[in-house]
């Protein structure tokens, strides 16, 4: 491979990697806010994304609603669904047994329920394509070719992340969320309603997953199994340290770029391996993740 081609591949890989990486970053963010505040990895995150994708598809294509209405309804439905799951199902599971394992199993249950529901409706029987809401005309940035849709994806993801970080860092609600993650007992003692905050966090995580679904769906074929894309969100979260929100974002971009570069420089078949190699490298060289701090053993 000559230098010219290598440079071209590099630019293309970084450009495409930033685009898909921004979606992985959103997914990682959705995973990490739940984990950080409740120490439960949500194994239904991918299916929440998939279900939201189908809700959008149904509203936009089958009901022929305008894009703005479909998008906002999808986000609202995802927020409400996730919040309701936390409020109703997880509260009951936690009441029945204090073991976190049961909560994790409940999230696994949710993933199968959502897959089953989508299959039940029949929409998930055949792979479907999600209409692109932004033109797919390509334009050149340097020597990299990207579409307007790509730029819209990256731009939207960055705006959503910026809004989230502002909320988390500078509002009263965000401060309450951080307090619950840092010290739930102290949070209760200053008057934070843990249930309410957890419910909002799940809702937000669902809404972010829905936005990720809207962004990624036009670039994939939709099936009931498309939730597996969340594996890359988990990969991003692990690379970033799993409890770090900035880490989740950086991890998302790293996974996206590594994936694209491996596809261009090695082989497109190697793409699926790339994130796992990245995880293993991080786990071996820096087990706490790129942004993970010290590991704290909690006193129960």
């Amino acid at each position: 491979m000559d230098l010219q081609l290598a440079l071209l591949f590099l630019q293309q890989g970084v450009a495409s990697g930033l685009v898909v990486g921004s979606v992985y970053a959103l997914l990682a963010l959705a995973i990490v806010i739940i984990f950080k505040t409740s120490e439960v990895p949500n194994f239904a995150q991918g299916e929440m994304l998939m279900a939201a994708g189908y809700v959008a598809l149904y509203l936009l294509v089958f009901r022929a609603l305008p894009a703005w209405a479909s998008i906002s309804m999808t986000i609202v439905v995802a927020f409400a669904g996730a919040a309701l799951f936390r409020r109703v199902v997880l509260t009951q599971v936690a009441h029945a047994s204090g073991s976190p394992v049961n909560l994790v199993i409940a999230t696994l249950g949710l993933s199968y329920v959502l897959k089953g529901l989508v299959r039940q409706t029949g929409f998930g029987d055949t792979p479907r394509s999600f209409p692109a809401l932004v033109s797919t005309d390509s334009l050149m940035i340097g020597q990299a070719s990207v579409t307007r849709l790509d730029l819209a994806i990256l731009g939207t993801a960055i705006i959503v992340m910026a809004a989230f970080f502002w909320m988390f860092g500078y509002t009263k609600l965000g401060r309450a969320m951080r307090s619950v993650g840092m010290n739930p007992k102290a949070a209760q003692l200053v008057g934070v309603n843990l249930n309410r905050i957890h419910t909002i966090i799940w809702g937000l995580s669902g809404a972010i997953s829905a936005i990720a679904a809207l962004l990624i769906s036009p670039k994939l074929l939709m099936t009931a199994d498309m939730g597996s894309v969340v594996t890359l969100g988990f990969a991003a979260a692990i690379v970033g340290g799993f409890a770090s929100l900035p880490g989740a974002v950086v991890g998302g971009f790293i996974i996206g770029i590594v994936e694209q570069l491996v596809g261009l420089f090695v082989s497109s078949r190697a793409i699926t391996l790339a994130p796992f190699l990245a995880i293993m490298l991080v786990l071996i060289l820096r087990p706490q993740g790129l942004f993970g701090g010290r590991v704290v053993i909690k006193k129960v």
């Binding site: 009263k172 840092m182 007992k185 003692l189 200053v190 008057g191 934070v192 309603n193």
Partner: protein, 237 residues
């Protein structure tokens, strides 16, 4: 007129372990009442049942005549009871300022919160110089001060203080208890949990002694300080 706090025959348990049985205590408004006892006697559990972190299995708690039994922890704070938990339960990765803001979480009177922040600085001037510092990087004594200041930010009428002397040097203990005396002089009622009985009896008007989850003795603090059995068991003389 009812007492400020009336705890009547409360019991609580962690799983099958009975932590409190039939504990009753009363405190009039404007008093400092001490709750003494050894490790595991149930002192912290008593505070946590009042704060509604630990469920009651029997008995009742009334604050200003109103029952707390059915309230949740966040309601208790709004009702006027703040707890200063034992140990270093600050929000470590938040700044001192954010910790204090969290103390005022349930309030929606910004002007009142601002004036209470100024008031907190009159008790703990050192916090004003540490506003931007992460709470986890404060010294032990400063963290204890931040915890008390954070609880004050809710403008409580009853302060539950759990082991404020824990892990502090005698000089700092003296400093903290001077501030407790000032808070009391300014009208705050305080339920004080301590292992350091000498300091607690000196600071309080009335005291209860817990053993294995039961009240075994109670009386005016001055009288208890003269009691031979108390001296042997708790005052180490």
């Amino acid at each position: 007129m009812p007492d400020l706090l009336e705890v009547e025959g409360i019991s609580a348990s962690y799983g099958r372990i009975q932590a409190l049985s039939n504990v009753s205590l009363r405190m009039p408004a404007g008093s400092i009442v001490a709750l003494l006892g050894g490790n595991g006697a149930g002192k912290t559990t008593t505070l946590n049942t009042i704060s509604r972190l630990v469920p009651l299995t029997a008995g009742s708690i009334r604050f200003e005549g109103q029952p707390l039994n059915r309230l949740q922890s966040h309601h208790v704070v709004r009702a006027g009871i703040s707890q200063v938990p034992e140990g270093r339960e600050v929000f470590r990765d938040m700044s001192v300022r954010e910790n204090l803001d969290m103390g005022a979480y349930g309030r929606s009177d910004p002007a009142g919160v601002r004036s209470d922040l100024e008031r907190a600085f009159t008790y703990f001037p050192v916090l004003r110089d540490r506003l931007k510092q992460k709470a986890g990087t404060l010294s032990g004594g400063e963290q204890q001060m931040l915890l008390i200041a954070r609880a004050l930010m809710a403008r409580p009428r009853l302060l539950l203080l759990d082991e404020p002397s824990l892990g502090l040097s005698p000089v700092l203990v003296q400093k903290i208890f001077d501030i407790i005396a000032r808070l009391h002089a300014d009208g705050l009622s305080i339920l004080l949990v301590e292992q350091n009985a000498a300091v607690a009896l000196a600071a309080s008007q009335y005291a209860y002694i817990l053993e294995n989850g039961e009240i075994v003795l109670e009386g005016a603090s001055d009288a208890l300080r003269q009691d031979e059995a108390i001296k042997r068991t708790y005052l180490g003389s």
